[in-house]
Amino acid sequence: MATSTRQLVITLDTRVPLEAMILQRLYRLPQSRQSEWLRQLLLLGFRSECQAIRSEQTLPVRAMPMRQQSTSAVMHAGYHAGPIQPEPIKPEREPSPGSSGNAPSGELPMLATPSDTPKPFTHLRRVLGE
């Protein structure tokens, strides 16, 4: 029977720190929200992949070191640079009580960004429009 949704099965390896973190984060969520969280994670990753590819096509060469790398570039670098050590992005200090409103209701995990990597939510710039 034809259907508009497709189910994917993926295997994550807990020996890989990044993949272990994803699983750990996933299991902290209520079961009812787990698959939606994974779907959002996949979409976010793909969006970032698209942005990276687009920036590779449009940025001048001198800007390249600052750009967000596409997944394929990260994977390629991984062969030489060893495993990625994920850490959450740390603010300088926990902000004041009024700084973030209520507790988040649907968080997406963010991975480590060394100081010379792009900012994590650059895709939100498009909300401003042209």
């Binding site: 300088e92 200090r93 004041s96 700084s99 939510f121 401003l128 429009g129």
Partner: protein, 367 residues
């Protein structure tokens, strides 16, 4: 009333950071018409009245710590900032003006950034940022950027110059400046959430249609965000804000007490305390303040309904800006799905800081 108070607000009791580092600072800077609000990465929030006038203060301070008026020079003119009867800020060119520049410099000095180089994100009212068709007003945005690039020097008497350097009265330089719409800054504050582990993007908040109502000093801004885009037909600015209460009360005081002139600081005090001191006697002006407030609330209600209808298709209506806190009881039942942001006066400044730290295309993060 938060928006009109003279008190400097800080969310903790820590003194400003001393000029101990040459690292570039990051600042969310909501340079409003009534108050200039500052958000810093260490969580401190600070507001100074947007109050300055051209010319020297003409006051010699016997004790440095008692100093309430500060002088700054820009474009060959000296301005006094602080406890002065300020010039009106309610004019369209204010965001790019020298008046704005010296007030911003003063706010950065008060935030302990003396002698440092900083990256800032500031804002413009929605209607000053976008044209009616939703396109950005690039000229106005650039004018705002250029405005803060002009140098502003703290004026220090020669005999105390050495002491002043030690206690921190050196120029703050703005090395990077980005401008975003004011109410939209509060959306960034809403969706980017700081946690114990770091920072996350709240996916539910990002995907939900929301209206932000930002009741400020000169303007009230409306922004509707849906599917990560601004809905321009429901967004814009109304040229009414908390300063209208002050103007209205000033007029009524002149009429009622038959006086021709009253200082701006006296009017602010009267609005805040509901008492006016004339010829050594206190007069109750609470009726005048209540009347002015009710007039403003009525106008805001009409415009809010015009922009947002009953808000049935919105997940949430989020009120921000100093006016939202001051008028909390008056706006309490406008929408069933409404919320007033925590420390509402600082929602834009916090969002500007988060935009700088996690979104915008600025040089790499630094202290």
């Amino acid at each position: 009333m938060t928006e009109l108070t003279d008190e400097k607000f800080s969310d903790d009791t820590k003194p400003p950071v001393a000029n101990s580092s040459l690292a570039v600072g990051q600042v969310g800077l909501d340079d409003g018409y009534a108050y200039t609000k500052v958000a810093l990465p260490d969580g401190r929030l600070l507001a100074v009245p947007s109050r300055a006038r051209m010319g020297s203060a003409g006051v010699t301070w016997i004790r440095d710590e008692e100093q309430k008026i500060f002088e700054y020079e820009t474009g060959g003119c000296v301005y006094s900032v602080g406890a002065v009867d300020g010039e009106p800020t309610q004019f369209d060119e204010y965001p790019g003006s020298a008046l704005n520049r010296v007030i911003v410099q003063h706010a950065l000095q008060q935030a302990g950034m003396s002698g440092r180089s900083v990256h800032v994100v500031t804002g413009l009212p929605v209607s000053a940022f976008y044209r009616d068709d939703g396109q950005q007003r690039r000229q106005a945005i650039q004018a705002k950027r250029n405005g803060l690039q002009v140098s502003v020097e703290p004026v220090v008497p020669r005999k105390t110059a050495h002491k002043a350097t030690q206690r921190g009265s050196q120029k703050v330089s703005i090395a990077f400046h980005e401008v975003i719409p004011e109410a939209l800054a509060a959306w960034y504050d809403h969706v980017i959430v700081m946690t114990d582990d770091g920072v996350t993007l709240d996916a539910d908040r990002v995907s939900a249609p929301i209206a932000i109502v930002d009741i400020g000093g000169r303007t009230t801004d409306y922004v509707v965000v849906q599917d990560q885009g601004v809905v321009h037909s429901s967004s814009g600015s109304l040229n009414r804000g908390m300063l209208n209460i002050k103007i209205r009360v000033a007029n009524r005081i002149q009429e009622h007490f038959d006086i021709s002139e009253l200082g701006e600081q006296s009017i602010s005090r009267a609005v805040e305390t509901h008492q006016l001191r004339l010829h050594g006697k206190d007069h109750d002006v609470s009726a005048l303040v209540a009347e002015a407030k009710s007039e403003l609330v009525e106008r805001l209600y009409t415009e809010t309904r015009r922009k947002l209808g009953r808000g049935a298709e919105l997940d949430r209506v989020l009120f921000v800006g100093g006016g939202s806190a001051d008028l909390a009881s008056d706006i309490a039942d406008w929408f069933p799905n409404q919320t007033i942001a925590d420390h509402a006066a600082f929602a834009n400044a916090r969002g500007m800081l988060k935009y700088l730290q996690f979104v915008c295309d600025s040089p790499a993060n630094e202290g």
